[in-house]
Amino acid sequence: MRFPLPSVNRRNFLSLSAAGLLSLPKWQPAFAAGKKASAKSILVIFEQGGVSHMDTFDPKPEAPAEHRTPFETINTVVPGMRFTELLTRTAKHANKLSVVRCMTQPKPGIGNSHPKGSQYIFSGESPGGPEEMPDIGSVVSKRIGSEARNLPPYIMVPGTSEQEYNTHVGFLPPQHRVFKTGGKPHDPAWSVPNLALAGIAPERFKDRADLLSNLDIGIPGADKAKDAKTLASMRDQAEDMLTNPATRKAFDLKAEPQKIRESYGLGHRGQCYLLGRKLIESGVRFVTIDCREPPAKEYPGGGNMNWDHHDHIYSTSDTKIKGGGAGAGRWGIQTWPMMGSTDLAFSALLEDMGQRGLLEETLLCFVTEFGRTPRINDRKGRDHWTHAFSFAFAGAGVPGGQVVGETDREGGYIVSSKAYTIEDYAVTLYEKLGIDTTKPLHTPAGRPIYPGKDGHAISEIM
């Protein structure tokens, strides 16, 4: 068939009919090479387990009473933008946030387990393709490296919880593998392994290095050979990492004023978020926080406090119930080790980064692998829900006080015309950093791989 008006081309014909004159198309290709970066670094808060969106960023006061969140819907500082009361502190920073309520997994099932769902978030690609995809952070490391030579370009804090095996460097060389701090940053005895001199004083290390440069006479042809040159430059960089006071400083939480430390919360989560901020400030390109409150005697029954609330989601203590299933080991969503510490730490992070001007060039993302069922199950819990969930973004030119997308009355399905996938999230990150997604990476076997090929940036926050 032919369109009736020859002067109207196809694309703007469609736009006119769909959205009126305001959305006339751009004529440039969407991923034009050399697009300007708006972010220098990225800080991802990955709250693992599947945070219930109805109880946090996407309140549903109109949902049927038996399935409704028990928490009140509250106003934020932005008129019309509402959260639940579990985000009371974060609500004060809503003017910095774009909340995307129309996140979805396009192929339900693929990322509907925690290992696969976490891998999906880390790599930005649905797992199970012909090649194992590297993490977004590893791709970023490969494509643009880091500005802080003394620190790894992609760090995870602490990155050693349940899903630690779901980070991948894939086909990329090992230097792009995520560096995991491990341990419990809130513990006064904590230090980062491998980045501190092991058992020798800095002065002696310097003497050793002097002796080495004295004895390292090289070999014929070393100035031309690639391996010899790389080796020397890697050694210089490693020496810098080990001896540069800035490296230690980047991880030194004790150097932070007590007031700041307290503002984040002195527990595990608060100090992990704070460490995230410190690393960004020290010039690390890509930081992911993947933390949960570790088991502690003040949280009996809390053996694995992620967001996987299959049972008794609104318990005021642990979630173990008679006849329950996989949901035991958490605490109720409103308790301190769960949303209490999260709301405090996230609001403190927004406040602190805002004050330090770090949001100018850092994209801050609050993400989870999926949402939870809009209906409460017979064990008083909510199960996995990949159809709709919420992410929040701030910084690097993301408009504040914005809600993107909409779900239905119960929070089950997306009703807005827009929906965004985890692939779209990945492309958003790449494009914020100015990475050209039309350029391929190559596997050692020569196969071209296009990270982000199945996504489009979330236009409302670009």
């Binding site: 290709p29 991923f31 230097q175 002796l211 004895l215 390292d216 080796l231 050692p444």
Partner: protein, 844 residues
């Protein structure tokens, strides 16, 4: 069907061309010509060819759309050939044909001749034009799809990706015409093709960027591709040409290789498709052309190849499922370059020198004895030479001392173990995949193959045809380590045929002739292998089918005569038969790569016509020698290690400093993970050299036999025997953080690329500050405590570098030791510094 004979003997292919060429031979030509030729020769002796030929020898233009590229070649007295297409004038004898830019186009039916004139020489080419009044609609499968490939529409990053792009999906490089027909004609609400107003079809407006197209501008109205797509749509976008004869062969002229010598740097190509019905068609401008080295070669839309600088590269021509490559060598005179007379130990040097001379690259001189000894020990055993051995070797005066060391090492247990380790890397020999001691059993089998120097055809056959209980039949673990049929097909092809066929599982291979049919034909060899627990058996039935056509496929290589026979036996026999295009070449290339860090074909498991060997004659001769020796693996190592090429210095000169692929100097590379760990252990004094190990082992055995109930003595003997302390000698890998940082493979794939060779920051952190190094240093102080300065330094230098320290070094170290108040710490610092020098960390 994939035609391997084309690869076996590219020369035969060329012979076909040559036979078909209408040659201008001055001896047979008219005497007047001879006179002219003579005069011309006198005037400009180097610029007049003594023979001219035109390809194709006969032009057939059987359709209105036909066009034939003419290629004119001059043969010169000095043996050079040169493309003269652009220097020639073409004059048709009748109006039925015209020639524009070296391409013949039809005008009307009839016969004619084209007079091709170069200088004073003229050659006449017969032309037959027919079918000019007959309709000849565009063919979907052989033209439309070729255009979509040529313009990149169905590439993997665009609409050829599994999900397509922007809702429009095509099959990758058109491997599945049904998907493409559906998608183009019916998909997109029928807007992609518009038969009433063809130019308004979305399939044209998008690539022309008349409407926004994320992929950008991909087509111009002046392109042949535009004409093809427009006409195809105007003729009704017919896709029902499945009955038309399919392309069975692609002929690229000139082939298979060509030399471009400055200043004559260009070569016109002609591409002719042969169809199943015997017809041929010039598809020069329909085919898709790619070059392997863009800094060396460029290619224009009209398929004129131009050499840009000295070097080698391949031009690959893809048309539908066919791919052919032409290998180009670009040479130019380098000012000041004079080839000297050089010693040659064996044919290895002859072939390398011939290539270096051709490309005007000057080889480096020989390395010194210390460097040679350290090099050959590391390459053959994975270990540093013992200090005493180094000292004795340096003092020895026998002329053949290098050969003697090579022979000695080839017979050592360490050689067998270290070389088997590198083979086991590719066979997934790890305890996770093969538990209950089967990894060790399989590893021991591989070691034994090297130890006894079992002919490699026998080793391969034993692996590929193994059946039975894998706890008793070591080689049967091959099938248990690769449990999935497709994986087995891919692994076998990669290991023994050096080919990465895995792309062909889902679509035809993008850079090679491997098709889905080949892939599932290889799978057909193994489809009857069944595994029950740890037992491998073969059933008499079972077939594979082509995933799209559903055709039952016969096993790859050679079919068995008995339909119920174990297909693996026929396959192994075909594979290991002398003359097989893959088997010997792949193995000698792997051997070469282990000794130079780089294959003659590189990467080692990526044999394909679009990735030519750096020195083809060298690879062929090594393969022939390997076959003639009865697949004697040690003999190949011996030949290479004795060559001047292996014994070159790492120092470069101004005529070879750019060379990275032709082996004109010994390539510097980082020690492998296992070499590194053992070298540190030995230098720090915590690992005894294997020569002492033999004595220690004999003692431990004696102790253990004498005290059968002493658990400590039994364990000590077992540990020594299994050499668990040595990363290069163990049966199965340790996979420590140190080794993993240095790129030790996980043994999860058959790809040699799983081992990472590049230096990284992680590795530097391990060396400067890691727990393994720190642990070794702690022991070092004790080991060296008993020596006075002079002896200490000599021992350290001989252990770490296989050489004596220089006077300057002695002085520096003495000063360092004198300065320190704590001698053990000073010694640790010294060992730390030594193992962090480039001389220590690099194979050189």
């Amino acid at each position: 069907m994939w035609n391997w004979s084309q690869r076996v003997d590219p020369l035969a292919e060329r012979a076909d061309h040559i036979k078909a060429i209408a040659a201008f031979d001055p001896n047979e030509a008219h005497s007047m010509f001879c006179t002219i030729l003579l005069a011309a020769t006198l005037a400009a002796p180097t610029d007049v060819p003594n023979r001219v030929e035109v390809y194709p020898p006969k032009v057939t233009l059987a359709s209105k759309r036909a066009a034939v590229q003419l290629v004119v070649t001059g043969h010169f007295a000095n043996g050079e050939t040169r493309d003269l297409t652009r220097d020639a004038t073409f004059t048709p004898s009748a109006e039925s044909v015209e020639v524009r830019g070296g391409v013949a186009f039809p005008k009307k039916d009839g016969k004619a001749e084209i007079a091709v004139k170069v200088g004073e020489q003229t050659l006449k080419i017969p032309v037959e034009v027919s079918g000019q009044t007959n309709p000849d609609p565009i063919r979907f499968r052989t033209e439309t799809l070729a255009v979509l490939t040529r313009h990149g529409c169905n590439a993997g990053s665009c609409h050829g990706s599994p999900e397509g792009k922007g809702g429009f999906r095509l099959s990758l490089f058109g491997y599945d015409p049904l998907i493409d027909a559906e998608s183009l004609v019916r998909g997109g609400l029928n807007r992609r093709v518009d038969a009433f107003s063809p130019a308004d079809s979305l399939a044209l407006k998008k690539p022309l960027m008349r409407v926004p197209h994320i992929g950008g501008k991909k087509l111009n109205k002046t392109d042949l591709g535009y004409r093809v797509l427009l006409d195809w749509i105007a003729e009704g976008a017919k896709t029902n040409d499945e009955k038309q004869a399919a392309c069975v062969k692609l002929v690229v002229y000139p082939g298979p290789s060509r030399i471009l010598r400055s200043p004559h740097m260009s070569q016109q190509l002609s591409v002719i498709a042969n169809f199943a019905d015997g017809t041929t068609r010039d598809v020069t401008t329909l085919a898709t052309i790619e070059v392997s080295h863009k800094e060396i070669l460029s290619v224009s839309d009209s398929v004129l190849v131009t050499g840009l600088k000295r070097g080698q590269g391949a031009v690959s021509v893809r048309y539908l499922n066919h791919l052919e490559s032409v290998h180009f060598t670009v040479t130019e005179d380098v000012p000041g370059f004079v080839w000297p007379s050089l010693p040659e130990t064996n044919f290895v040097d002859q072939h390398v020198h011939a290539k270096l001379k051709q490309l005007q690259v000057m080889p480096s001189g020989s390395c010194d004895d210390a460097t040679f000894l350290r090099r050959v020990y590391l390459d053959l055993t994975g270990l540093l030479p013992p200090g005493e051995k180094a000292k004795a070797f340096l003092a020895e005066t026998a002329k053949d001392k290098r050969s003697k060391v090579i022979d000695e090492l080839l017979e050592s247990e360490e050689f067998a173990r270290y070389w088997a380790l590198r083979t086991a890397d590719l066979l997934r020999v790890n305890a996770k995949t093969l538990p209950e001691g089967r990894a060790e059993l399989f590893a021991e089998f591989l070691i034994d193959g090297y130890r006894k120097n079992t002919p490699f055809d026998k080793v391969a056959t034993e692996i590929l045809t193994a059946s039975g209980d894998a706890t008793k039949v070591p080689a049967a673990n091959y099938f248990l380590a690769t449990p999935v049929l497709e994986d087995l097909a891919e692994t076998t092809a990669q290991l023994f045929m050096g080919s990465r066929v895995n792309c062909a599982k889902c679509h035809n291979h993008p850079f090679e002739n491997w098709t889905q049919e080949d892939y599932y034909s290889i799978a057909a060899v193994f489809v009857r292998v069944k595994k029950a627990g740890k037992v491998v058996t073969v059933t008499p039935t079972g077939e594979t089918k082509h995933p799209t056509s559903g055709k039952t496929l016969s096993p790859f290589g050679a079919g068995a005569t008995d339909a119920k026979a174990d297909r693996r036996i026929a396959f192994a026999a075909w594979l290991t038969k002398p003359g097989n295009p893959f088997f010997a070449r792949v193995e000698v290339n792997r051997t070469w790569a282990r000794l130079f860090g780089r294959g003659i074909v590189h990467p080692v498991d990526d044999f394909r016509s679009s990735n030519p060997p750096a020195i083809p004659d060298l690879l062929d001769s090594l393969a022939v020698e390997f076959e003639k020796s009865g697949f004697d693996r040690k003999q190949v190592v011996r030949l290479i290690c004795n060559s001047q090429t292996y014994q070159r210095s790492t120092a470069t000169n101004k005529f070879n400093e750019e060379d990275e692929a032709l082996f004109s100097h010994y390539p510097i590379r980082r020690l492998t993970a296992e070499q590194m760990q053992d070298a540190i252990g030995y230098t720090a004094g915590s690992l005894v050299p294997p020569s002492e190990l033999t004595i220690a082992l004999a003692k431990a055995e004696k102790d253990a036999t004498a005290a059968p109930n002493d658990k400590g003595k039994q364990a000590a003997f077992k540990k020594l025997r299994a050499r668990t302390e040595y990363a290069t000698q163990r049966l199965t890998p340790e996979q420590s953080p140190f080794l993993m940082a240095f790129g030790q493979p996980k043994r999860e794939s058959p790809c040699a690329c799983e081992r990472i060779d590049e230096p990284t920051v992680d590795q530097a952190l391990q060396l400067l500050n890691g727990p393994l190094v720190n642990g070794r240093l702690t022991g070092a102080a004790g080991e060296y405590a008993k020596f006075a300065d002079a002896e200490l330094i000599e021992r350290l230098w001989l252990a770490a570098f296989s050489r004596m320290p220089t006077e300057a070094e002695r002085k520096k170290v003495a000063e360092h030791l004198k300065r320190s108040e704590n001698r053990p710490d000073a010694m640790r610092d010294l060992v730390w510094a030594i193992i962090n020098t480039r001389e220590f960390l690099l194979q050189h």
